[in-house]
């Protein structure tokens, strides 16, 4: 039997192999994770742990495995971001407004995972309604990264999928689901030394995912390595008649593409992503990344994405506008929190003011303002037009290159007690990830090295729509060249 400590270090692919070869059972694997979760509760990576459900699912998986059956993720224990509706299991999006909400249906993505035989360990912590970049807006408290600052300070795992990323990095889940509206998979992946991919808009069904900004939201995996991301995304992706924006395109075998190499592929380096005053560590790792790809036979080409500067301002019009509309459903009448009032309006106001955290209220107000009479054209319509120009920048770039390489974040993870209080400073975390959401393109973060303080840094790959394959090929080369040592191996 493999030791428990070793079990929680395996990748999805290795654990899958171990299960098939009967080196250990899903029950043993799941128990090892449940023990690790109990031991590291201080990280607050989970809002809800599901030991009984997990062990029950593991037992069923073992039965199927014993018969030589089982799906692509059979018996593999995962963390599910608490934004995916899970039937009969509390789903809150880390918001007080949904406390106690038990969906009577399963999200399409989690249904696919169940159908593939996955085991659910629990619901991962996140930012309130997925709004945040440090996992400090959760009603259920901050998530603490397993990584520590050089001075021993507690660090943010990033957000909004902070619980998912921290769990995968620390061995509290073998892999996790995330969602990404402006960087919420890629930024936490970069901060925790894990791999995260936001696929093309439409690749994964959004049905049953608590909506933040519907034209930007996409689900994707956070994993320990590139191969795991490929095999996990294959299961999550695919058309769903219940989401009219989900694509009918066939999902290729991402895992098979991994070994194809990058020879002859053209890699664009956008000059606008070199921000003024950017950390030297970040610039260095970016240059290294380009050199690694070049060594593997890719061609490096300088490109320009002239409207990049306007991505973040456009995002902070469009995302709050869509959020203010999506979040109108939380009214204290049909589900979630109700704070009584003498009139219906008072009930709405009392419920929403108590149920939403400060950041959510800020964004709902901003969104309401930019959609209000007299300001709609000046802000909302203007931002939609700028969005079109940003998408066009990428279209033109992809006539010259096959993929774009950038850093994932402008800095490494910051200490929880050094979190910026100015919302705009906090928003700058997503400055390099937001453009891919606006243009609907796939983006992936791969751990590439360490900062001077010894903290993980990620490189981002952005590809043409529905060409995740090129990201996986590139990511595999970066991963091999970087030789990054994950947290668990340190």
């Amino acid at each position: 039997m493999t030791l428990k400590n070793d079990l929680i270090r395996l990748t999805l692919a290795d654990a899958r192999e171990g299960l098939r070869q009967k080196k250990f059972s899903s029950l043993e694997l799941t128990q090892a994770y449940l023990d690790a979760m109990a031991h590291h509760r201080g990280m607050n990576a989970y809002i809800l742990e599901l030991p009984e459900i997990a062990l029950g699912m593991a037992k069923e998986s073992d039965k199927r495995l014993a018969k030589g059956e089982g799906g692509a993720l059979e018996g593999l224990p995962l963390a599910i971001k608490d934004i995916f509706c899970t039937e009969g299991i509390q789903t809150t999006a880390a918001s007080h407004i949904l406390e106690g909400f038990k969906p009577s249906y399963e999200s399409t993505v989690t249904q696919k995972l169940k159908d593939a035989g996955a085991v659910f360990l629990g619901k991962a912590n996140m930012d309130d309604c997925a709004m945040g970049s440090a996992n400090i807006t959760s009603y259920y408290g901050n998530v603490i990264s397993p990584w520590k600052g050089s001075n021993g300070k507690d660090l943010t795992p990033g957000g909004s999928s902070g619980g998912s990323a921290a769990a995968v990095a620390a061995g509290l889940a073998i892999a996790a689901t995330g969602t990404d509206t402006g960087g919420s998979i890629r930024q936490p992946a970069a901060f925790t030394g894990t791999v995260g991919i936001k696929p093309t808009y439409g690749r994964c069904s959004r049905w049953g995912i608590i909506a933040f900004a519907s034209s930007l939201d996409q689900a994707g995996p956070i994993t320990r390595d590139v191969r795991d991301a490929a095999l996990f995304l294959e299961v999550m992706a695919g058309h769903d008649p219940k989401d009219s924006t989900s694509s009918t395109r066939e999902v290729p075998s991402f895992e098979k593409s991994l070994s194809q190499g990058v020879k002859g592929l053209r890699v664009g380096i956008p000059k606008e992503y070199r921000l003024e005053g950017m950390d030297a560590d970040i610039v260095n790792i970016w240059e290294k990344g380009a050199a690694w790809l070049k060594e593997a036979g890719a061609e490096i080409i300088d490109i320009s994405l002239p409207h990049s500067k306007y991505s973040l301002p456009a995002y902070y019009v469009l995302a709050p506008a869509e959020a203010s509309s999506n979040l109108a459903r939380y009214d204290g009448v049909r589900y979630g929190l109700r704070v009584p009032g003498r009139t219906l309006d008072e009930l709405y106001e009392n419920t929403r003011s108590e149920g939403f955290g400060a950041e959510v209220q800020r964004r709902v107000l901003m969104g309401t303002y930019v959609l209000s009479a007299g300001y709609y054209d000046a802000y909302y319509l203007k931002a939609q037009k700028v969005r079109a120009l940003i998408a066009q920048d990428f279209q033109l770039a992809f006539q010259k290159v096959d993929v774009i390489l950038t850093p994932t974040t402008p800095t490494a993870a910051f200490a929880l007690d050094e979190t910026p209080t100015d919302p705009v400073v906090m928003y700058l975390n997503d400055v390099l990830t937001v453009p891919a959401n606006l243009a609907g393109l796939p983006g992936m973060s791969v751990p590439a090295g360490l900062s001077k303080e010894g903290l993980p840094l990620g490189l981002q790959l952005i590809g043409p729509a529905f060409d995740e394959t090129v990201l996986f090929r590139m990511a595999r080369v970066l991963e091999d060249a970087a030789g990054f040592t994950p947290f668990l191996e340190r």
Binding site: S215, T245, T343, E349, M366, V386, P423
Partner: protein, 95 residues
Amino acid sequence: MSLDQKTVKRIATLARLKLSDDRVGPMQQDLNRILHFIEQLSEVDTSQVEPMAGVNTPFMPIRKDVINDGNYVEKILANAPEVACNMFVVPKVVE
């Protein structure tokens, strides 16, 4: 462009959020910081550009207009804070 306190209160009412008096000032300050940040958009010439609402909107599918789901009142009401006679209960609206 910056928001005065009256406007902040008005949009709070539109959004059905109650802002106590001590929260109006700090919220005004935060919103104005964000507004100042998004003002940059005015530098961009968009006179020849069509607005983009979403990524794949031109390909929106159309399905047959048939009933293919439903009949689960209990499930719909399962999470409601207050229910009576298979309906959601709210404070009296009509006098």
